[in-house]
Amino acid sequence: MSRYAMVIDLQRCTGCSSCSISCKNENNVSDGIYWSGKITETSGTFPNVRFHYIPTLCNHCEDAPCVRGCPTRAMHKLDNGITMHNPKKCIGCRYCMINCPYGVIYFNWSNPHEFWRDKRVLIKGGTSSPAEETRKVGGKEIPYYNPEREATLSGIRAKGVVEKCTFCDHRIKKGKLPRCVDACPADARIFGDLDDPKSQINKLIGKFRPFRLKESLGTKPGVFYIRDFSSAAYPRTKGGI
């Protein structure tokens, strides 16, 4: 059985956010929810400053605290290592959000894609309402609806339940890579099977010194980060007093 994981090469990542945008399109993710997000940080004091960018997503932890705490097994592990959520069983207690150390689980506070339900037009007789736009292009709730998402999960999650990244399990089932991996123009995301010693991710994990987020908590995340981007150079020095 496979044990899927991801390597993110921070030297290759340009911070373009195409992972986030493609994820939103692929999974019909609503406004304000980011299955694929980021942590940014500015270090140093002006003028000696640097900007750091770490792309984030569900870590699909081996010992996932969200899974352990979920009272109805709505949050559960698949045999292939993916941490999956079943909205049909979710009671909306948000205990998974409390337990997740990475802040990657979101709750649908209101009806998703509220904007596209709006039947009001901006200019009467001139423009279409968002709801009409959706109907015209044959979308389901949103114009850019992706029906393929329905294969393993509700196409659009309802109000009152949580949602998060699934490593695009519906694509994996078809032998495709997760959408964010496919869409990355810099090939900064590398996906594969940890149980396959010949997999690209195992080669990279072995070649570089990877780190995982908040490893001290013992959750054993399935997202590994390697290298760090820096175009800066400096003259060789021993400092001084």
Binding site: T72, A74, C93, N111, A158
Partner: protein, 367 residues
């Protein structure tokens, strides 16, 4: 006449609560002051307050059966009924906290025994059945040692499981403390004592019932117990502050520094613990009705604020990618809808208690 006005007020509270239910389940949880960071707020704080008060009342009602102090039998029936009423109030707040409460059926269909939340739900269901049975036994002028012991055991189980649920969250340094499995039953006990005194004395006052000498002595004894227990909790509370402030991790310390200056924290410390314990440890104040009522009311207000402070302490600091673009600590102010959830829970609880007092002979002593 007074009773009609009272019932009318409670009816209004329930009506406002029902309107809130409609708003919550049509507009969604956006009517609460919740964000992706503040995932648990006032409704959950109110649930914890009510449920722990109910557990505390269970400790008080168990005194005659579990500890064999027969003179407490005179308050047993009222205490058990109050336990039930308060539990109903807690369920109202809990339901309005859940995003999809109708799916709770999956607690049975797809249980996760590793989840403290599953245990809590199961224990509270058993608890409800047991207190209803125990009350029915007393109401039919009988008593059951087994049920009395079960009420006591389940009250320990629920309050400590709540400590497990809240206190074992690795991701949240301010919540992650085994301390809560001890702090919750203790504070539940003082809340139960305070609620018992407050409701018994106010009921007697408003229904013009004379308090017998025997009962008065019992109330004074309970008040002394309240003073001592609140004092002990105060010491524990201060140690919690010292440990949080001095010897925790930097992350925990920062969150704690934020909380220590908050209004709920200070209400819990001063109104909820310090003043009631002082009032109840001064004999001349302790023997007065107003002294006991004031101490009981202040303690409950303080505990309510404390439960809210506790819930907020775990969520005010954004984690991971949720921290992106947010301040180090987010502020919280409850919305009208959240306040109405508490009003709804309180009104349901008070209505049940008022009807029980009127029709179920709560003064009755089991044989």
């Amino acid at each position: 006449m007074k009773l009609r006005i009272w019932i009318g007020l409670l009816g209004l509270g329930i009506l406002l609560g029902l309107m809130t239910v409609y708003r919550v389940y049509t507009a969604g949880f956006v009517v609460y002051a919740k964000t992706d960071v503040l995932v648990w707020t006032l409704p959950l704080g109110a649930y914890i307050f009510f449920s722990l008060t109910s557990s505390g009342l269970a400790f008080v009602s168990s005194i005659p059966i579990v500890f064999g102090v027969k003179r407490y039998e005179t308050i047993e029936k009222r205490t058990i009924f109050l336990e039930f009423a308060v539990l109903m109030g807690s369920f109202v707040c809990l339901i309005l906290h859940l995003g999809s409460p109708l799916k709770v059926i999956y607690l049975m269909l797809s249980p996760n025994l590793a989840s403290p939340l599953w245990w809590l739900a199961t224990l509270y269901t058993i608890y409800l059945v047991i207190i209803v049975s125990a009350f029915w036994r007393i109401h039919t002028a009988r008593t059951s040692k087994v049920l009395g012991v079960l009420v006591f055991l389940i009250a320990i189980a629920t309050s400590t499981t709540l400590g497990w649920l809240m206190g074992m969250t690795d991701a949240r340094p301010t919540l992650n403390a085994s301390f809560f499995t001890m702090y919750f039953p203790l504070t539940a006990f003082i809340s139960g004592l305070a609620a018992m005194l407050l409701f018994s004395l106010l009921t007697a006052y408003f229904s013009n019932r004379e308090i017998t000498q025997e009962k008065n002595a019992l109330y004074n004894e309970l008040a002394r117990m309240l003073g001592i227990a609140a004092g002990l909790v105060l010491i524990l509370f201060l140690w919690r502050s010292i440990i949080g402030g001095i010897s925790s991790t930097a992350e925990g310390y920062l969150a704690f520094k934020h909380i220590i200056g908050s209004i709920p924290y200070n209400i819990e410390l001063w109104l909820g613990l310090f003043i009631p314990s002082i009032l109840m440890l001064i004999p001349s104040i302790r023997v007065t009705v107003w002294g006991k009522v004031t101490a009981g009311a202040l303690l409950l207000i303080g505990m309510f604020a404390g439960r809210l402070e506790f819930v907020l302490s775990g969520v005010v600091r954004p984690l991971g990618q949720m921290a992106e673009g947010r301040p180090e600590f987010v502020s919280y102010m409850p919305t009208i809808s959240e306040i109405l959830v508490v009003v709804f829970g309180l009104s349901i609880m008070l209505l049940i208690y008022t009807l029980g007092d009127r029709f179920l002979k709560l003064e009755q002593v089991p044989e």
